[in-house]
Symmetry: C2
Subunit: 449 residues, 2 copies
């Protein structure tokens, strides 16, 4: 099943907004095992929407049109689909009544334009609108299908899951294409994409061999016809996604006939990958799926029943801000001191007078944060964000200090790449990762409350 | 001149990254007066890239292909263009030597794959690569043109400006289509899009009338043929762009035959718009074009020769972090205290024991920040980010305090919408805007150094 996405809206062509809907839909389709070979964007122009839709139908089995279902004169996706279907638009009294109710409930008057949202191409099915006023459409075109959903992201997403995905699954079931596909992401910090690839080369080769063997079996079963569906047999693949300041993701994707099989395959492969990475790099996997570094830090602090205070210079509040992003942070986060000016380092944190871009200063900041903020653990960071050098150090030179409950003090010197914003972002996540790894190294029982 | 953008890369179809390149290119083309009626995205597949390119050439005057010029076996844009041009690829010795030099300079060995980047379709021109290894291409296809640039955003942008835009302008000049189009953005904080639209309705009507009059004149000049190019006469338009946590942008776009005319039109309209907005809302325009709120704050602090210290609760370092983003912040920013835990508010900032979600606490935080951080101005913020209420206040309740050099204390209560991250972001920019407007209200001469 090949589905093409057609995003409708002049604002997309003018670059006033980026087309995040198509990216989201592409990800959902891939996860459902549906191929998508082309995306298009087109403006609010009848002739051109018709042309884009005809182009998409010629090269794909179905189309998802996103946008152009609103109440203004610019919203003409309905009309374009009706022309391609070669049918009239018919006003649906039930939809009209629902839209009237929507306006009544808000004490607002309904304009004639809003009634246009009740127009449906003859022969099309409707995906009921539960959040706004524009319903979605399921439009048969010969043996192919055109879905239409609003461009408002949360309305689009809700209709895709409730109305489009089940219809797609039904069509794939009829075509014998149905399979379960699921992914799991392992998030890493502290090594390069090529380093990860090298450490996992053995796993990638093993998975390739397993797929080849399965394909050979499938081909033999199919009577040696040679027409093998590459995604047919159960298979796991590994991909790397560099996510900039959030590290590098290792994505495992499994495909199999049932949910249980896919889950078992992901569990087994996750274990293999974690072992291979731990052998090479230690604890570089800080989280899975959407888990952030600050959430990983929160989990280990809660597990060890420790509170945290931070002292920041070049990061200027970035670390504290990321930590506060975690709901419930008040259970373990005391606060921070942004000691941007050297005088603040000395007066508030008791950092000795002297060089402030140094291991000694980072350690004193950590100790100061722990004491001033009344925390079990203090994390301090100082360095040069750039663009200019400072105290003879080039931009990217960063010192991290970590003051632990047993008065142990750990310091690290880092050299980070990039411009000023990037050095600041890398510094914040690097320091949080140092904290995470240091706490993991300590058996829970040695920590005070 | 109609240019179609074709983005190449399977990762775009899978939604692993959003296609920000096409949005950027669309914005640049619009600013240059070039129409773009369609965008496409296609995966790393030879047959399908050829199909997408042929589709684009059939309905547009030219194509910009973005991506697929790298050194791996997946990078096949060169081959696809050569097939559509019906010419062979020819290895260019000068490009090959430059790529070799690139590797030599880094002490790395060049693989055969890297040599493929020196392949050029016979008859194509080259846009030299100055940042990486893949050159761009300018490929004639009949009387149409296909440009190809790498998908790395900064390489793409640099090549577009240096190689593609001048070529496009030359072609438009030959076709008699050239006009200068430029935009200016006025950035606002503190009112709604509908409020802005209402305040500027008079200007929008006046501009519409001016355009109608110009079109009528042009039609009369053209002998009443009716075929009037709507963009032909000099014209200014106003558009609103809601930018979420960064406020609402008012974009003025002018089109005229010369740079000087466009500039004069923008200057005149900016004055009209600023007057209309100031009459209605006061100083809601905080910056122009790419200027951020923190840069606006920096400018007024530098102008008044004042230093700043902040105390943050729910924003947890967001304000400090935004301020440190401004290069040269050390000239006016002392630092901050992230008093997330109530105990830190009391011990570090001397906030009296009692409710911490209150105007009194915000004022005490501002005063404490000013004193502890040795700053001329102290800014304090406390409130409820959610998801749970606190001290009987619902999420979105925020108090801001501002301690000024003459010991004047200003406090404000705000009620902000959205979920936890949004309340925090809105809080930070609202507090910075309060600071900016308060400082602007004060004549410079009353301030101490």
């Amino acid at each position: 099943m090949r589905i093409e996405i057609v995003a409708v809206g002049t604002e997309l062509l003018l670059g006033q907004i980026a087309d995040t809907n198509s990216a989201w839909l592409g990800e959902q389709l891939a996860a459902a095992g549906v191929d998508s070979h082309f995306h298009q964007a087109v403006g609010d122009n009848h002739r051109r929407i018709v042309l884009a839709l005809r182009t998409a139908l010629a090269r794909s089995d179905g189309v998802i049109m996103c946008g152009g279902l609103g109440p203004t004169q610019d919203d003409i996706t309905r009309e374009a689909i009706a022309e391609v279907m070669n049918v009239p638009l018919v006003r649906d009294p039930a939809i009209e009544a629902r839209i009237e109710g929507f306006f009544d409930a808000r004490g607002r008057t309904m304009s004639d334009n809003n009634r246009r949202q009740a127009d449906v191409p003859a022969g099309a099915g409707v995906i009921e609108q539960v959040r706004g006023t524009a319903p979605g459409l399921i439009c048969p075109v010969g043996h192919k299908v055109v879905y239409a959903v609003p461009g408002v992201p949360h309305e689009m997403a809700e209709m895709f899951e409730r109305g489009i995905l089940p219809d797609l699954r039904r069509r794939m079931g009829e075509a014998g294409e149905e399979a379960v596909i699921a992914s799991r992401v392992l998030r890493t910090w502290g090594t390069s994409e090529s380093g990860l690839a090298e450490a996992l080369q053995g796993r990638i080769d093993a998975l390739d061999d397993a797929l080849d063997a399965a394909l050979t079996t499938a081909a033999a079963t199919a009577g040696g016809s040679g027409a093998v569906n590459a995604g047919g047999p159960g298979a796991v693949t590994i991909a790397f996604l560099a996510s900039g300041i959030e590290g590098i993701k290792v994505r495992l994707t499994a495909r199999a006939p049932t949910d249980a099989q896919v889950l078992a395959m992901l569990d087994a492969e996750e274990k293999e990958v974690r072992t291979a990475l731990a052998d090479e790099f230690g604890d570089i996997v800080f989280g899975t799926d959407d888990q952030t570094m600050e959430e990983a830090v929160a989990l280990v602090l809660l597990d060890r029943q420790l509170s945290l205070g931070v002292a920041e210079s070049l990061t200027g509040g970035l670390m504290a801000s990321r930590l506060v992003d975690v709901p419930g942070a008040s259970r373990w986060f005391r606060g921070g001191v942004v000691a941007y000016d050297s005088a603040v380092k000395h007066s508030v944190l008791d950092v000795p007078v002297g060089p402030v871009v140094s291991e000694a200063a980072a350690g004193a900041m950590a100790t100061g944060a722990r004491r001033v903020l009344g925390a079990d653990v203090g994390l301090g960071i100082t360095g040069v964000a750039g663009p200019d050098p400072q105290e003879g150090h080039p931009p990217g030179t960063v010192f991290v200090g970590l003051a632990l409950p047993d008065n142990q003090l750990i310091t690290r010197e880092l050299h980070l790449p990039g411009d000023r914003p990037r050095v600041r972002q890398y510094s914040a996540i690097s320091a949080l990762d140092l904290l995470r790894r240091a706490l993991l190294d300590q058996p829970a029982r040695t920590w005070g409350g």
